[in-house]
Subunit: 298 residues, 2 copies
């Protein structure tokens, strides 16, 4: 009884993020049904086998009939195409949200497709994930105690925002809201820039003639540092293109700081170097403490 | 009986690395005694309480009488001073080794102090450690299955090298040898450069006006990436100064690669970006697989 009255959720593209959301939502009394929509039957079958969805289909008309919430789990570069494909089949009252790592480009794509703001679209970004991808890596507790950032625009419908907030709360996440620009600038610094540095480091070392030996002797610190360089190349290509301005700004600031650090080493300025390292350690330790407190707090 | 005939080891400066070596060696039948030598009685008492040494002293004469192997566990910047202090008390046949993260500067300091090559000095570097420091963080299994690089010079005594190889083998390490220059160049790329990037990132973000919020929303990838920025500032100051040339070379190569990556983003060159990321992921995944195989292999 409860199942049939709860919202029907359609996951468009069932990879790590959407698949984990499906695993978190399925079987909850508040949820009606979780439907997987995609292009590739074999990928959909894997999502079904992994337990991420109740049923799957390659037909947008079939998937979207009477749907209440549509979650776009596709790469940033596919948002516009997918919106064009699902648009003719969207029920008028359906709420749409996405999980992309940059928000300005998603809002721009949706508005381009709809010829203006779409009040029932709620841009979203769960701050969770691993360096793995694909539905096989999905797990239902991925969002527990993790932050999900929603970035409603001035035109976003209040009711649509509340529905998406509830959806993520059911998955155990802590939902916060902020502006699109603020999100993109902050994520450029905390996530997109570090990924560029890690990809750049592996790429730089790989071009060294003795790279096999280099990787052989690398210690645990290096392994941690470069873990994020194992992330999905297409996803990161799209993030670079989608959040280009904020990422370039963060890269410019970082490159300036690295230049200064290089100058201190060139000058053999021990006092200056120790000051930079002491400052970084103090901030990092404070952040770590805060992070551990947060993990423990509930 | 066995204890009294085994080698006496003197640890000069009992922090994370030397303390862990002491914990690994103490109580082994091959070892005679582990003595802690330092300047600060309260630090020595902590080493004793932590079980890293059999006895402690602030007297070099006392510590070095009849000693067989001296392990310098002090920061790179203190090597020359410590060598000057212990030199008058060194038994002629005693073998000396160190644990510093750069080797050229240590060899130069030792040779400067002794007015030429010291055949019974074996430069060493265990590729192990954590972002913590101090003897309280020491543990006896730190070196198990980890590599220890010894960098004998053309003048290094064969017997001295063998003794130091045995010492690390008793601690469970895999001992390899290579030239001083090769070590310094390789470590600049796999360890010193990544530390600079992590320190630089934390420093860069900390100078942003909204840094508190930035750190609050940073995800697990960021935490891993910046873990090494919590390392000891004095140690890293000394590494920068001690391995300056190789580190500057690695930084220059990296900055060039980062410039190219930035140019790809500026040009919105999706194909080029995907190529870089795909290459990095492939290499990183291959390295990870190798690393896991290594951990499992015995």
């Amino acid at each position: 009884m409860a199942q049939s009255t709860g919202p029907r959720i359609c996951l468009v593209g069932v990879g790590l993020i959407a698949g984990s959301l499906g695993l978190a939502l399925r079987g909850r009394p508040e949820i009606g049904e979780v439907i997987g929509l995609g292009r590739h039957p074999e990928q959909l079958q894997r999502a079904l086998a992994h337990g991420a969805v109740d049923r799957v289909t390659v037909s947008a008309a079939d998937a979207l009939a009477d749907v209440d919430i549509v979650v776009l789990g596709v790469p940033l570069g596919a948002i516009r195409t997918v919106m064009a494909e699902i648009r003719p089949h969207l029920p008028e009252q359906a709420v749409i949200t996405d999980v992309g790592s940059a928000k300005g480009c998603v809002v721009a794509d949706v508005e381009a497709e709809f010829g203006g703001p779409l009040p029932r679209f709620v841009p979203g970004h769960p701050i969770a994930g691993t360096e793995h991808s694909g539905v096989e890596a999905a797990f239902g507790r991925l969002f527990v105690d993790r932050r999900v950032i929603l970035t409603p625009t001035p035109q976003t419908d209040e009711d649509a925002l509340e529905r998406v907030q509830r959806l993520w709360a059911w998955a155990g996440a802590r939902v916060v809201t902020m502006s699109v620009d603020h999100h993109d600038r902050m994520l450029a610094m905390t996530s997109h820039l570090p990924h560029m540095l890690a990809f750049g480091l592996v790429d730089s070392l790989a071009s060294d003639p003795s790279h096999e030996e280099i990787f052989r002797y690398a210690a645990g610190g290096f392994r941690d540092f470069t873990r994020i360089a194992s992330s999905d190349p297409v996803m990161w290509r799209d993030i670079c293109l989608g959040n280009r301005d904020a990422l370039l700004e963060a890269l410019a600031a970082y490159r300036g700081d690295l230049e200064q650090l290089t100058a201190l080493i060139e000058a053999a300025d021990g006092e200056g170097l120790e000051g930079v390292f002491r400052n970084a350690k103090q901030i990092r330790d404070g952040y770590l403490q805060w992070f551990e407190d947060r993990v423990d707090e509930d």
